[in-house]
């Protein structure tokens, strides 16, 4: 199924990005710069898909790319792929993977989503799963155009219950790194995932609940104390799961306060726009894994309830003036 490529190079790999929003687009556009890759994208937003097919997928900001990506809103039009990268918001995981499962009948699908619990859902539909954690971030600024706000690394490793092979994981990491998305293949990627999870769970919803930037949350003693208490619950659950964190979440949080003082957490941006948050996969994930191991997580439960209540309030109020 070789395709003619502009610069020669035999086609060696076909990959599909599932969920081509900000993060998915960063992966898709970078990968599409590699000659030997055929990059497909599945997304439900018609204008975005049409713009990608007409003009290529564009990235601005931290990277400048315009690359050919074959985008579809109908998964049946996408041929079988060796790899998938699932980048939807975590509340759409089930819907996205059940719609695209046929593409990956003999493929490995890597989650680069927020929170925990996504790999478990993916594993119900495809033979091999890769656990991933990524830091690059951006925004869809127009159909077919994504601004890359933050660069950063990605870590991938096997999902223990339905693992992809080490060779597959190496191959994906190599391609991603060569495309400009620095990625490390690990034998155990849980530490990276839980470090980011605990960081997010302790800081992100507090931004949404208080309206404070990351830096202010950290400099006010009441919120810094609460962040610390939330971190302790998350670390206790990770310990009970036998996961070794790859760094201290408290140190990461303090570091972020220095380098990203004015950053508004994504959940605060969601709150300002009255968009549904990923609270279920983030703090909710800590609560569910804690319950599974008998570790109490009352503060994370309280945060889940408060954010759920906030979302409930939006359903009966008009959204505010847009940002």
């Amino acid at each position: 199924m070789a395709t003619e490529r502009g610069r020669g190079g035999a086609l060696s790999m076909r990959i599909c990005i599932v969920g081509c929003g900000a993060v998915g687009s960063l992966f898709a556009a970078h990968l599409a710069t590699l000659d030997e890759l055929e990059v497909w994208a599945y997304d439900v937003v018609e204008e975005h898909v049409a713009a990608i097919n007409a003009n290529g997928l564009r990235v601005t900001g931290r990277a400048e790319i315009r690359a050919p990506v074959r985008a579809r809103t109908d998964a049946a039009e996408i041929p079988p792929c060796q790899f998938g990268i699932l980048a939807t918001k975590s509340m759409f995981t089930e819907q996205a993977i059940s719609s695209t499962a046929a593409i990956f009948v003999d493929g490995a699908v890597c989650s680069v989503q927020n929170g925990v619990g996504n790999e478990e859902l993916i594993a119900e539909h495809v033979p091999r799963v890769i656990r991933g954690t990524t830091f690059p971030a951006g925004r869809v600024v127009a159909p077919g155009v994504v601004a890359m706000d933050t660069a950063g690394d990605t870590w991938i490793g096997p999902f223990e219950e339905r693992p992809a092979s080490a060779a597959e994981i190496e191959r994906l990491a190599e391609a991603l790194t060569r495309s400009g998305m620095a990625t490390r293949a690990l034998a155990d990627a849980r530490g990276a995932q839980w470090t980011k999870l605990i960081f997010n769970a302790a800081s992100n919803p507090l931004g949404a609940l208080t309206g404070l930037t990351h830096g202010r949350l950290c400099e006010l003693p009441p919120t810094r104390a609460l962040i610390g208490a939330l971190v302790r619950e998350g670390v206790a659950v990770a310990d009970a799961l036998g996961i070794t964190l790859d760094s201290d979440p408290n140190a990461l949080i303090d570091h972020a306060a220095e380098v990203a003082y004015d950053h508004r957490a994504s959940m605060l941006q969601d709150a300002l726009a009255h968009r549904r948050t990923e609270i279920d996969a983030v703090n909710g994930g800590i609560v569910r894994f804690g319950a599974q191991r008998g570790v109490p997580t009352p503060l994370n439960e309280a945060i889940v309830a408060l954010i759920a209540g906030m979302e409930h309030a939006w359903s009966s109020q008009p959204p505010p003036e847009s940002e």
């Binding site: 609940l209 209540g309 309030a313 359903s315």
Partner: protein, 323 residues
């Protein structure tokens, strides 16, 4: 003692409801904070609508020196304004008994520092909607509970007489020999309901009592109430009413999750108007009592910290003001 002259100190929503009703059975004077408020009351009188229709003639002034003599003073300012209000009253109301109706704990002690008046403690459950300086709608026609403050040996007969006067005026009132059990019931109820409403943006709707699903708010409200009940028990206070039952009853009063007329707790009103809240007097008091009697209150403490942080989000800050 025959009570024939009542002075209402602080003509916000609650103070106006007292003044507007009591004027039908006795002479009422009103001490306001703003002179234009007093002028409007003198000119137009005070209108009550909603559950009752009243149009009261009251004497109003913003200067304590100008107040006519009174038998009972009802101090109905916000807890945050109590200190300056008590200072302004010092030297006035000789021979009068004063009643506090502030939310939370500690109002009586503030008044006692400024004068030797016999004091009545009260908690009120009535609520209203303030349409203007001279017009308040009587919303919830629920009771005011009152009892002698033990430290000033106020005769119980005075409390009974004032309660009878309020009932004659059309209000719901109940005299109690010991108000602490009722005061604590309301404190615990208030702390849970006000903080959850303030942080989620929800009025006091059915979700506050729903405990069926993960993320329902009832779990959190119940857990907060349980912390308060444990503090009361350790402090030796036997509660007058079960605060959880109070919550269940309040949301069952014909209100639905999306009803427009569900009650907005005052802390939510303050948050929406970006005013300082009464968090210190309510949840702050509960957290301090918890520390005093050695009962851990991690969830109440988290709510306290979040509301304080929310207040900080609209206060000016050198570098991080947001929203």
């Amino acid at each position: 003692m025959a009570i024939s002259r009542v002075c209402v100190i602080g003509a916000g929503t609650i103070g106006s409801l007292f003044a507007g009703h009591l004027a039908s059975v006795c002479e009422v004077s009103v001490l306001t904070r703003r002179s234009e408020h007093a002028a409007l009351l003198r000119e137009q009188g005070l209108r009550i609508s909603g559950k009752h229709e009243r149009h009261a003639t009251v004497f109003a002034t913003d200067d304590a020196v100008a107040l006519p003599p009174f038998d009972v003073g009802i101090v109905a300012c916000k807890a945050l304004d109590l200190e300056p209000t008590a200072a302004a009253l010092a030297g006035h109301g000789e021979g009068a008994t004063l009643m506090t109706v502030q939310n939370g704990l500690g109002a009586e002690a503030v008044l006692a520092r400024h004068g030797a008046w016999p004091l009545i403690s009260a908690v009120t459950f009535m609520s209203g909607i303030r349409h203007s300086d001279a017009h308040v709608e009587y919303e919830l026609d629920t009771a005011t509970w009152m009892g002698p403050w033990a430290q000033t040996a106020t005769p119980y007969a005075v409390v009974e007489e004032l309660a009878a006067l309020m009932i004659a005026a059309g209000l719901e009132a109940e005299a109690m020999e010991d108000l602490l059990p009722a005061q604590w019931s309301k404190l615990i109820f208030n702390s849970a309901i006000n903080t959850v409403a303030a942080l989620t943006g929800l009025p006091h709707v059915a979700a506050f009592a729903a405990e069926r699903e993960f993320g329902d708010l009832g779990w959190l409200v119940h857990a907060l109430i349980d912390e308060g009940v444990a503090v009361a028990a350790a402090a030796g206070v036997e509660l007058h009413e079960d605060p959880w039952e109070m919550n269940v009853l309040a949301v069952a009063r014909g209100e639905t999750a999306h009803s427009d007329y569900a009650h907005r707790p005052s802390m939510l009103e303050d948050i929406l108007a970006r005013r300082a809240t009464e968090i210190e007097f309510i949840t702050g008091a509960l957290v301090r009592e918890g520390a005093r009697v050695g009962v851990p209150v991690p969830l109440s403490s988290a709510m306290y910290r979040l509301v304080r942080a929310r207040e900080a989000s609209w206060l000016p800050s050198a570098a991080g003001a947001v929203l």
